[in-house]
Symmetry: C2
Subunit: 369 residues, 2 copies
């Protein structure tokens, strides 16, 4: 029983579920003749990265220059940094471009101007396309700004225009597959406008498309060349609420020791708080804000429970479980409970190590951002 290995808050990883999540996405991209360039910011681990390699994945996405260097060190030779270029890291980007096939993302000319001072090797440049999420990127109507960037790319020997990179992050507001599909269709239509406007001049350009909800729920991706989902490797309660996955597909759970019982108010206290889970929250069908959902520990893994207790609040180290009085009464002090996290990317980022169900540890996780 894996619980025997646990004495403190521990992030469990069900490798089988994780591999199925990877395999499903690999098969979908193969069926659709799309490139898959998974985002590694979710797991941040060399070992989990190699699981992708075993499925034939050769190219990856990361969210920082440090993360690019971290995975380049494990043999990844084709990396996209999917974050608007930070001019203060121009020198490091230039160094990395010397070693691997590197793509960066920009949405203004200023960042390229800085970079050009350091560059001594080819560097592929994506322009960030805003398909309606309005976090970063340029809309198709901002033609002057797009053209100014393209002009700068043309002028400079080392810059190569790679295409448009988009992230339909408004899919995170969906609460059903239908909701996701509406955003997906709208985003595809907008992506098509980018292709229409620029393909004649740049026949080699690609359109890269991200976000776990659309990549999970949709079956067709007309006009898209590459998918960059990340969270799907583990999924989580947020993705379940959005409609991207079932509870059974969530591949990580926090294991926490019970330290106090308060059956009179239907609560138990576990060792496991904000410094373990992160403070991301979700809202359930009863309109309760919550931070995790309890699952039943099994010999190998866990089972989804009916009317499962929830993690109703988190302090720095305390997690407060809300449950029926009877459920709290049967708990024993020291018992290990399993909790599905709301946002696996943030939980994994904080925990920085995984305990697999076979008892092995994965500790090759990037430490400082």
């Amino acid at each position: 029983m894996i619980t025997e290995k646990i004495s403190r808050p521990t992030l469990l990883l069900d490798k089988e579920k994780c591999l199925r999540n990877i395999e499903r996405m690999v098969e979908k991209t193969n069926r659709n003749e799309l490139a898959l360039r998974p985002h590694f910011k979710t797991h941040q681990s060399h070992e989990v990265g190699r699981w992708f390699r075993n499925y034939g994945v050769q190219a990856i996405t990361v969210s920082s220059v440090r993360m690019a260097a971290y995975f380049a060190a494990d043999g990844w030779e084709d990396i996209t940094i999917a974050f608007p270029h930070n001019v203060h890291e121009s020198e490091k980007v230039a160094e990395l471009a010397e070693k691997i096939q590197l793509q960066i993302v920009v949405e203004n000319t200023a960042s390229l101007t800085y970079l050009s001072e350091y560059l001594k090797h080819d560097l592929s440049v994506f322009i960030k396309a805003d398909l309606g999420y309005h976090r970063t990127g340029l809309e198709i109507e901002q033609k002057d700004q797009i053209d100014a960037i393209l002009e700068l790319i043309e002028e400079h020997d080392y810059f190569q225009f790679k295409g448009f990179l988009a992230h339909a992050g408004d899919s995170y507001d969906a609460r059903s597959t239908t909701g996701i599909m509406e955003i997906h269709e709208r985003s595809l239509a907008k992506a098509k406008a980018f292709r229409k406007a620029y393909q004649a001049d740049y026949p080699e350009m690609i359109i890269s498309y991200g976000d776990t909800p659309c990549c999970s729920a949709a079956e067709h991706f007309e006009g898209i060349d590459e998918l960059r989902p990340g969270n799907f490797v583990f999924y989580d309660l947020s993705q379940w609420h959005i409609g991207s996955c079932s509870l059974d597909q969530i591949a990580v759970a926090m294991a926490c020791p019970v330290v106090a019982k308060h059956p009179e108010r239907g609560e138990a206290v576990v060792y496991g708080g904000g410094v373990h889970f992160s403070k991301d929250r979700a809202t359930n069908e009863q309109e309760e804000t919550y931070y995790g959902l309890l699952v039943e520990p099994l010999e190998e893994g866990w089972n989804i429970m009916e009317s499962a207790p929830i993690m109703k609040s988190l302090s720095q180290e305390h997690g407060i479980i809300k449950a029926e009085t009877e459920w709290v009464e049967q708990l024993e002090i020291g018992q290990i409970v399993f909790v599905l996290p709301v946002h696996s990317c943030m939980t994994a980022d904080i925990m920085k190590e995984y305990l697999c169900l076979d008892g092995s540890w994965i500790r090759d996780v990037m430490h400082l951002h």
Copy 2:
């Protein structure tokens, strides 16, 4: 200018403000003839810990066994672990009790029963008193449970009853000094009931009292022997909203490079997201949810701004600033902005390093929980 040292999201520490925060609390406890046992979970740094030592502080509070070991390694010889004892760490607690004066906190007999199997040295035991916060602890009415713990302590040679440890955490719901004081007075009255019930039998017992809001706002602490605030070392926007501090007393700020500008929608994007700030949020007077407040960078430190822009949302690495169009327009790509965090404990816990205003780094921060 400190900004010249910054190329990535960086947690700035204004040592002078921090020292004044420490000094103010030291003076208050001295005036009131109270012991001060500051909680070190906020800064988690050996060096910041030594600043306390320079003010004569000898005893500290931590939130985990690992944190106790981390500070014991830097010469702290009197440590309270203010978290309900996790039975799986009984052996480690017993080992630590051999080396230093250690206090643990319990609220049930089960945890002591486990511990007694490992103990070979004296260990002081606090019973957690619930003064109305209802997170952990026993209420004065739960006499049978309190007496059962006391009986177990009496039976066992190595256990010493230290007293009652309380945390009036409901003060975090206050939104004014008056609000804090209401909770403080109610908590003091409840603490008095514990003293009245048990002092005759345990004349040496103490009452330990925590929480930054009450310790910051109150001037008198009748019936209390020891204060254990933690967050006050840095303060943050949450404490400002509660009424514990002024904005000027906040001693930490995140420094983040601007990576994108969207003046047309009054937004700028900085490099600095949930993996840097944590996802703790606050609500301002305009009823907006927000994740940070911008301050004006100075040659040394920062200035509070009138109608300051806010950090309106955080993704994993992106921070989205909401501001007037004109303010966004004058920003330059690569410019470093300073942002007060909502919850300094969580931000410091994630960042794990501080840049002081004199350009020196503090990197001796505990890494894994």
